[in-house]
């Protein structure tokens, strides 16, 4: 009966991103927030493992107090409890510092068999959290897992690498990061959504985790974010009008003229 920890995060819904036309900076405020896609796969995988082998799955999230709807969503899907790590001092933490915060919370939660997280987040897509957390907690890691099986007290996983599939095994405790292809996250039923309100949500601040506020957030992070600017693609945006035959002919002529055909 594996004891599982699932790390997840809230991100802005990238479909709603807009650019400030004056500064060319990205405007991320006031945009709908959601659980990062791959993290939903991690939550789903933990629930599937629980359905097959029993055990318990605790979700852990570093976020603003406003991320409670995402916590409720994760609990509705089937996590047993959640742990919100929220402190103004955490603001501006880089990925490796977030891993340090999560590591402190996971230690405080007690012994576990598996940590699951998404391979990467949909905002930063750096895929650093899993390996950094595994290093902090001195665990073996299996990244990019596209299939996971539990065999007694060990896990067997298929990893989707650049050049092929690698099947690896490791004994508990172990950290896994999962790909989007591993499963299809479920939608919670109304009954599950109602039941989620009764589930336990722990809330811890930096002091509860024994973290000095100098070691986290903007001032404690080795990486400094200087600027986020819109990444525009310069395209000609020429519509080829007329009948289909005319448009097709113009297209071919333009492409020949561009020297790309």
């Amino acid at each position: 009966m594996p004891e599982m920890i699932v790390c997840f995060k809230e991100v802005v819904d990238e479909r709603e991103l807009k650019v400030n036309p004056k500064t060319q900076e990205l405007m991320t405020e006031g945009i709908t927030r959601k659980i990062s896609d791959f993290d939903l796969n991690a939550i789903e995988e933990a629930i599937r493992i629980k359905e097959m082998h029993g055990g318990r799955a605790t979700g852990v999230i570093v976020g603003l107090p406003e991320c409670k709807p995402s916590i409720k969503k994760a609990l509705s899907m089937g996590l047993d409890r959640a742990c919100l790590l929220s402190d103004p001092a955490f603001a501006g933490s880089d990925t490796l510092t977030v891993a340090a915060i999560l590591a402190a919370a996971i230690r405080k939660l007690g012994p576990f068999d598996m940590i699951l997280c998404g391979e990467a987040s949909t905002d930063g897509f750096s895929a650093q959290l899993g390996p950094s957390l595994a290093e902090r907690l001195d665990l073996p890691q299996i990244t990019a897992a596209s299939q996971v099986t539990i065999e007694g007290n060990q896990v067997v996983a298929e990893r989707s690498l650049d050049d092929g599939i690698e099947v690896v095994e490791a004994s508990f405790p172990v950290l896994l990061s999962v790909t989007k292809e591993i499963n299809k996250p479920r939608l919670a039923t109304l009954k599950q959504i109602l039941a989620a309100s009764k589930k336990e949500v722990l809330e811890w601040k930096a002091a509860d985790l024994g973290l000095s506020t100098d070691a986290v957030g903007l001032q404690g992070s080795p990486i400094v974010l200087k600027r986020v600017a819109a990444f525009r693609m310069e395209r000609k945006n020429i519509r080829l009008e007329g009948t289909l035959a005319e448009a097709a002919e113009r297209a071919i002529r333009e492409l020949l003229r561009e020297g790309v055909l």
Binding site: V12, F125, S132, V156, V168, E169, V174, R227, R239, I252
Partner: protein, 330 residues
């Protein structure tokens, strides 16, 4: 340890071709800092690799040949790289952003108590502070983040194919150093390695790509796309739903942020709506032609040329026009 006590630029990739690209980038950075360029060669054949690395720009190569390094495994590789970096204190450590490199770099950085920036596409040295300044794509290709570092070493991963390797220089002087460090056996065991199921498609190298998306109604209609591709000497690509959800084409056709990023002269998007994840995969195409029934499809904003129309009619019209024009003019 103060930042000034760190010196030199180091590069590592477990893939030789990527290591050569990093050597070229590393050489530029080392020259602008006025320091040496070091490289790490680990595993089987590391010594032969070391002389190659010198020919491609390294001043010093650290060779690790422990049996636990013979095939890549993140734990022993972390032991060795973090161990060496702890001893010799490079100010910059560049690691190839292969899947393996990306699981390695954050572990190394975490062990060294420093920061790591992933998938950097531009790296420069800020004059006075000697700090590395990097750019990376965030928000599914919508934005570019500029980052810098407080600590040393400054660890960055670099995607393959961004930087060109230098000319090979025979008889370039350089030093090879055998690295002996305690290494632990990995706690993961490899049971099996198999190839990914795929055809013979190398879409990332294609000069012309004809790609399809949800605008296709039936799997057999991919034939229409294939015919146009064949006529133009192109590879067939697709958006996520065709490869992942419907599985009408294998994953090696899948163009997008999480699969293949293409850089053809011409990309023809047929019935692709243009989700930003897809757009992130075609950013480096020189010319994009989009065909879509929906006048408001976002793909048109990311296209040089657009035809609003049913792909089942537009593609035959394109084939006909191509045959007529090219035939007449040749």
């Amino acid at each position: 340890m103060k930042n000034e006590e760190y010196r030199n630029v180091w590069v590592f990739s477990e893939v030789k071709e990527v290591a050569l690209e990093l050597l070229s980038l590393g050489r530029q950075l080392a020259d602008s800092l006025g320091v040496e360029l070091g490289a790490l060669a680990l595993g089987n054949g590391a010594e032969a690799q070391a002389s190659e690395y010198i020919a491609y720009g390294a001043d010093r190569v650290y060779v690790g040949q422990h049996p636990a390094l013979s095939r890549f495994s993140v734990e022993p590789y972390t032991d060795l790289i973090a161990g060496l970096a702890g001893q010799h204190r490079p100010e910059v450590l560049l690691i190839g952003a292969t899947k393996r490199g990306k699981e390695l770099a954050p572990r190394v950085a975490t062990r060294l108590g420093t920061g790591c920036a992933a998938d950097c596409i531009s790296l420069t040295i800020e004059g006075e502070s000697r700090a590395l300044q990097v750019e990376r794509v965030v928000y599914s290709g919508n934005a570019l983040a500029m980052l810098t570092y407080r600590n040393r070493p400054q660890v960055a991963t670099i995607p393959p194919g961004i930087f060109q390797r230098r000319e090979r220089e025979e008889n370039r002087p350089g030093e090879i150093i055998l690295a002996e460090l305690p290494i632990r056996e990995p706690r993961t065991r490899v049971r099996e390695v198999r190839e990914k199921e795929k055809g013979s498609v190398n879409i990332e190298a294609a000069e012309v790509v004809v790609s399809c998306g949800r605008g296709l109604n039936h799997p057999e209609d991919i034939q229409l796309i294939r015919e146009l591709a064949e006529l133009l000497g192109a590879e067939v690509g697709c958006s996520r739903p065709i490869a992942a959800d419907l599985q009408w084409l294998s994953e090696d056709h899948w163009v997008g942020l999480s699969r293949h990023k293409v850089r053809p002269k011409l990309y023809i998007a047929c019935g692709i709506s243009g989700q930003i994840q897809h757009i992130a995969g075609i950013r480096d195409a020189r010319i994009v032609l989009a065909i879509n029934q929906d006048d408001a499809a976002p793909i048109f904003q990311s296209a040089d040329y657009g035809i609003v129309g049913d792909l089942y009619q537009v593609i035959p019209a394109l084939k006909e026009a191509y045959q007529r024009i090219v035939k007449r003019e040749s």
